[in-house]
């Protein structure tokens, strides 16, 4: 396990979010900029005071898009770093912003992410890879393999899996930023088109576009920038990990939940908190099975029991461990560069008590976990 020296305490001072969906008339920089200005206004921080910025995105839309987007706010000459780390690109940008401040180099930092995504199944390898001919490079097929094995190992029912999507849509119906705001029934989820058995269409996240941003500030510098302490949220842990050998080979299907556990343990150690302290969690639910395995790997429920916890309503807004309170990837969609910061946006909004009809009562500690292909995991813990 990584040994960290304790750094300066860092807070989230402001957040911003672009609605998730399809925005054919906007380019990547055009998507990315509105949440940045929103986050700056939310924090009450002027653009000219930001000393460093990190931009998460995956698909290629020209070089140095971060500079192109932020340049419209004025050319202040600050370092701007473009970050590609698969589905965790946004949360990796946030992690870098955190460490830039925690190590004492900067007082403030901006993390933002955006994505424009092509349609169709998501692949991991390059186009001329033999994996394409072998048929193994298929993100949702990887989830389907895990899902069938999980159902076999733990007796999980198709209905329990489908309930993850029903719950996601219920939460999303209370979230004006969501891509899919219509509620769905168990029958509609189970009877939707098969993508890769047993995964149906409504159990896979849609391909969506969107953007999110956060302004971070050293807690000891909040007064210097006249930031309202009533609305800041403390970052108790910021962890980014790549894969350890998992004993199962190097295929894409083996990624993700096995990586989450070590990242979670590190985040719990760093924060001095445990899974029992977490009031709500945003986790990587690119498919229904993803949410179940992530909350098990985070130790929020025992291994093999997340499907029952879901059926019992424990992960709903009114449950004891609400998960993906804004609709998650299943209803928000998954713009790779934005998703990780979108989760942080939701966590901060909940801990501020500003989540309106989807507010989790008394939320004081929130966790955001984001996975990426090629073995990336981020876990962040926030406290109010």
């Amino acid at each position: 396990m990584t040994q960290f020296r304790s750094g300066r305490e860092v807070s989230v001072a402001g957040v911003g979010l672009h609605p998730f969906g399809r925005f054919r008339d906007k380019d990547l920089a055009g998507l990315a900029l509105p949440p940045v200005t929103e986050a700056l206004n939310d924090a009450g921080v002027a653009w000219k005071d930001i000393p460093v910025a990190y931009f998460g995105h995956v698909y290629y839309h020209g070089m140095s898009v971060g500079e192109t987007a932020l340049g419209k706010l004025g050319l202040t000459g600050i370092p701007i770093i473009n970050v590609e780390n698969a589905c965790s690109s946004g949360s990796t940008a946030f992690w870098q912003a955190y460490w830039g401040i925690a190590t004492g180099i900067f007082d403030l930092a901006l993390a933002f992410g955006a994505e424009k995504v092509p349609s169709g199944p998501v692949t991991v390898t390059a186009e001329d890879s033999p994996e394409r001919y072998i048929g193994a490079d298929h993100m949702m097929a990887g989830y389907a393999l895990r899902m069938r094995r999980y159902m076999e190992d733990h007796g999980a029912t198709a209905t329990a899996l489908a309930q993850v999507s029903v719950k996601a849509r219920q939460n999303a119906s209370l979230n004006p930023y969501a891509h899919r705001k219509e509620t769905v029934s168990l029958e509609e989820v189970l009877n939707s088109r098969l993508i890769a058995d047993p995964l149906t269409l409504y159990q896979c996240c849609p391909t969506s576009e969107g953007a999110a941003a956060a302004v971070l500030c050293a807690s000891d510098a909040l007064d210097r920038y006249a930031i309202d302490r009533q609305r800041t949220v403390k970052i108790a842990a910021a962890v980014l990990r790549s894969g350890n050998y998992n004993g199962r080979g190097s295929d894409h299907s083996a990624f993700s939940p096995y990586r989450t556990e070590p990242a979670a343990l590190e985040a719990y150690e760093m924060s001095g908190l445990g899974p029992e302290d977490i009031d709500l969690a945003q986790v990587h639910d690119a498919a229904t099975i993803g949410e179940l395995q992530q909350i098990e790997s985070l130790h929020l429920v025992p291994f093999g029991q997340a499907w029952e916890a879901t059926q019992e309503g424990r992960t709903a807004l009114t449950g004891d461990i609400p998960v993906n309170t804004d609709g998650g990837l299943l209803a928000m969609g998954h713009p790779f560069g934005a998703s990780g910061i979108r989760m942080i946006h939701e966590t901060v909004t909940q801990l501020r008590g500003e989540a309106g009809p989807r507010q989790v009562a008394g939320a004081k500690v929130g966790l955001a976990q984001c996975s990426g292909a090629g073995d990336v995991t981020t876990v962040h813990i926030f406290t109010k």
Partner: protein, 148 residues
């Protein structure tokens, strides 16, 4: 004469490209075996590695029926995708052929099968490669029934 879809992972053992063996790498320090080539051990970082020929048979760890294929998929749709655990340790993903949906079962024994696959390259030219797949180990009767 066919060539292997990926010579680093599938070594052909006849000129027709109908027989072959999957290649793995075993660490001489920690004994962990992975599918395909490696320069350093994935588990312990050692560079004392040796190539190994992997077993022809394994057990089906999980499977799915892919209804929406990834771009570049040259075969029929839907297709069965199997995650197969080999006795040496590695799991190998590949298409499952020569069986019906009702025959698929976690834990069933499968064996390596090579198939010629026509691949279209970007400039419109076509090449045929031997691609590794899995097929169930079943009685002769069952195989005949399964053939369309």
């Amino acid at each position: 004469m066919l060539s292997s879809v990926d010579p680093t992972r599938l070594k052909l053992t006849n000129d027709e490209g109908t027989r072959g063996v999957l290649v793995g790498t075993r660490c001489q320090d920690c004994q962990v075996c992975v599918f395909g080539p490696a320069v350093f051990c994935q588990a312990c970082t050692s560079s004392s590695l040796e190539p190994v020929e992997l077993s022809q048979r394994g057990s089906l760890y999980s499977y799915t029926i892919v209804r929406v294929p990834p771009s570049g998929w040259p075969g029929p749709v839907p297709y069965f995708l199997g995650q197969v655990e080999l006795p040496e340790g590695p799991q190998v993903l590949a298409e499952i052929i020569g069986c019906r949906e009702a025959d698929l079962k976690i834990g069933m024994e499968v064996e390596l099968a090579l198939q010629p696959v026509i691949l279209a390259s970007g400039n419109g030219a076509e090449t045929t490669k031997a691609v590794y797949k899995w097929k169930p180990v079943m009685s002769t009767d069952a195989i005949q029934e399964a053939s369309p």
